[in-house]
Amino acid sequence: MSQPVLSIHNITKTFGGFVALNDVSIELHPGEIHAVLGENGAGKSTLLNILAGITQPTRGDIKLNGIPVAFSSAVDAAKAGIGMVHQHFMLVPTLSATENLILADMVENRAWFAWPAGPVRRRIAAQAESFGWDIDLDARIDTQTIGAQQRLEILKALQGERKILLLDEPTAVLTPGELPGFFATIRSIAATGTAVVIITHKLDEVVSVADKVTVLRRGRVVNQCLTADTDVSNLAREMVGDASNAFAVLTAVKQKYTASDNGNIRVELSHAAAISGDSVLRQGSASIQEGEIFGIAGVDGNGQDALAALLTGNTILHEGSLTIGDLVITPHRKCTPQDFLRNGVSYIPADRQTDGLVMSMTIADNILLDRVSEPPFTKFGMFIDTVAVKRFAQSEIERFDIRPADAGCIVSTLSGGNQQKVVIARAMSRKPRVLVAVNPTRGLDVGAIAYVHRALRAATAAGCAVVLISTELDEILALSDRIAVLFEGRLSETVPAGVSKVDLGHLMGGAIN
């Protein structure tokens, strides 16, 4: 086997008390495509930033062609032959391709002026041609397609005979139609002897392009192997974790779901499509009954945000139909989150600090955020009955064991678990008939996780239909009565709770039905 062009040994990186990378080792060989796979927060970006010289490891060595090196900046790494393409392109939109490459060169060499463009342009044109790319080097960046911009970024990263190319989530910006071309590009670059590292959380990409794969979970390498020796469902399971963690203990919380098919249907999704930001729900159909927890599994970024926004009135329905509680939503009908709340649909959003809470307000203010305008909290229709508000908030604080038990406490001073309890208290206090919960335990400790799970189970006992959208497979398995999987914006058929992890892994990797 050839000597690795770049290798890292036992790299550990901590931020304060948080261990982002724990004892990670990777070897890169010339001409090899190496995928680094992991969930959000698994440590992929930290690893990439260390390879690119942007951050420095707390412990561990980096060797370039067998010689120990220490990069103190991205420019250092670039000079050593490592080029990086960021997820968000670093091109000046108003300049041409040639001008952008000259600018990059100037920055790297700390030059004060640029040489005439001719030779640079010829060099780039030759390189583009060697890859078989047809790029307009004189058109402004903002007139070019995303695919073309990405190729320019790659050309920029490969300037100066670089032998290592790092790609951060390169396919996130591409349409499905652009993918085959992109993979061909990567292969042709590798064929010239360049080592390519791709960071991604999309499983099918790994299998279709990479030679080797490293799976990261919570900062540790859980598997490192040749792509040929694994498959999509194995990778999916390794990525989201085994039952050996906190969730296994919580399976006990689950009471077997006994409702038959003739239970009241609370949410009826039929061929629904919606968009929220860059999240797309292409097609989803499901019927969710009262008294059940309906788990929606899937790797992050497969349409979860759009589905949650659709179910809570935060985005409009594009196609299909949706009946939720008493609301019948038709395509393009304007609906507000307020309409959904008033019709018994409560929401525990994924990001409690931005979507769930007004951090600068008190516990009482947050619990009654959307309800202070309703009786019995108002006097004469417009004044707030502070006594009623305080009494109600205090009773909810006790019911949900929020600490400190002080209604006037500012929410930003609370721990994550207690902040989440405030969100849950508000969601439950409306006695919802449908509860939409997205990653409700993200970032919480084991005790708080158990608490949240009990609260969701308690909601179903009160007849509520719970839609649990979670990227934690174990959470889905521990709580759900029935499960569907989101993959690339499509919701799979509903499967019963007894489904095996292997089967779910298949679904999460895109093997729909």
């Binding site: 009135g313 989150p337 979507d355 203010d365 202070v372």
Partner: protein, 345 residues
């Protein structure tokens, strides 16, 4: 607590010394005696019954426009178009004040018209925000320039005096004038309206549903929207309320002070109001002393100016006083933070 108040006192003293010596230096460079300038300023602001009245007359439009800014800024709606809303309020008040409305109704009609004028002027930016997401800070500012032209046009067109000589309107009817507080002095009963609105706003922001919504929306958190607050409605209401208040300030200026419209009309109250509101830290009650300070500075300066002190020197002194207050606040905050950090470490 004791250490805290001692600290505040020391900082205040320090900044008073800084402000005084800077002002004295500037006056001496300008070739005047610091003592006589200080005396002229003080005399002009509070020296006589007449001057006190003048200070309060200057305070009234500043206070009302500042409250307009306070309410909008609290919702992070940066309405810097209060100047334009003030002008439109004045235009409509001038028109309504000339209608033959029976007795005591005249004043009410005049002031309500001014509020409608201001609200309508702010409705345009509000609609642009609601339907097209245009930033209020930009659209409301542009509306100011249009308002100036509207005033210039009406006093040469529909509202020009009947003898058609100068670009100014006929006076409003006596019934539409705000009564004076004390006979013989300029001070008019608009002062009570201004104070009442400040108190009302204090209740509004602290004890009402609207105030609570304002707080949630003004925190800039996305949670207000995701969690079902009618964010757009709250923002539009806020902008309209702010505009109505700006208009009322213009109406009160017509009904209480000038009694007719001329071109140009405003002394930039709508702009000064932003400084007043920020000095008051967006507190409706705090706006009262802040507006008083600006009123006193304006009144004192005009008196000192007639005593022969160059207007530039007076403007510099006003600026130094403002910066010193902000400087004192900044020093106190950063010191307090450092102490708090030291206590926890």
């Amino acid at each position: 607590m004791i250490r805290n108040s001692a600290l505040s006192f020391t900082i205040a003293l320090l900044w008073i010394v800084i402000a005084t010596s800077t002002c004295a230096g500037i006056v001496m460079i300008a070739g005047a005696s610091p003592m006589s300038v200080a005396q002229a300023l003080l005399q002009g602001a509070i020296g006589t019954q007449y001057n006190i009245s003048n200070t309060l007359v200057q305070t009234i439009p500043l206070l009302i426009t500042a409250l307009a800014v306070v309410i909008a800024f609290r919702a992070e709606m940066f309405n810097i178009g209060v100047e334009g809303q003030f002008l439109l309020g004045a235009v409509l008040a001038c028109w309504a004040g000339q209608l033959s409305v029976p007795g005591p109704l005249a004043i009410v009609v005049t002031l309500v018209a001014s509020m409608l004028g201001g609200a309508l002027w702010s409705l345009i930016p509000a609609l642009m925000l609601h339907f097209r997401g245009v930033q209020i800070v930009l659209s409301s500012l542009i509306m100011n320039f249009i308002a100036v032209q509207v005033v210039a046009w009406v006093v040469r067109g529909p509202l020009q005096e009947s003898i058609r000589e100068y670009p100014q309107s006929d006076p409003i009817r006596t019934a539409a004038e705000l009564p004076k507080v004390i006979a013989g002095l300029q001070l008019h009963s608009g002062i009570w309206i201004a104070l009442a609105i400040a108190l009302l706003f204090d209740v509004l922001v602290r004890n009402t549903v609207f105030g609570q919504h304002l707080k949630a929306v003004g925190s800039g958190s996305r949670a207000s929207k995701t969690m079902g607050l009618p964010v757009s409605r709250i923002l539009v209401t806020t902008v309209l309320l702010s505009g109505a208040l700006g208009g009322l300030a213009g109406g009160i200026q017509i009904a209480g002070v000038t009694h007719f419209l001329a071109d140009p009309y405003s002394k930039g109250y709508g702009y000064t109001a932003i400084a007043v509101a920020l000095l008051a830290r967006l507190s409706p009650i705090g706006a009262i002393p802040a507006a008083l300070l600006f009123g006193a500075l304006t009144s004192g300066s005009s008196a000192a100016q007639s005593a022969g002190i160059p207007v530039v020197v007076l403007q510099v002194i006003q600026a130094v006083i403002l910066f010193s207050i902000l400087g004192a606040r900044f020093t106190a905050n950063s010191l307090r933070n450092k102490l708090a950090k030291g206590a926890t470490a």
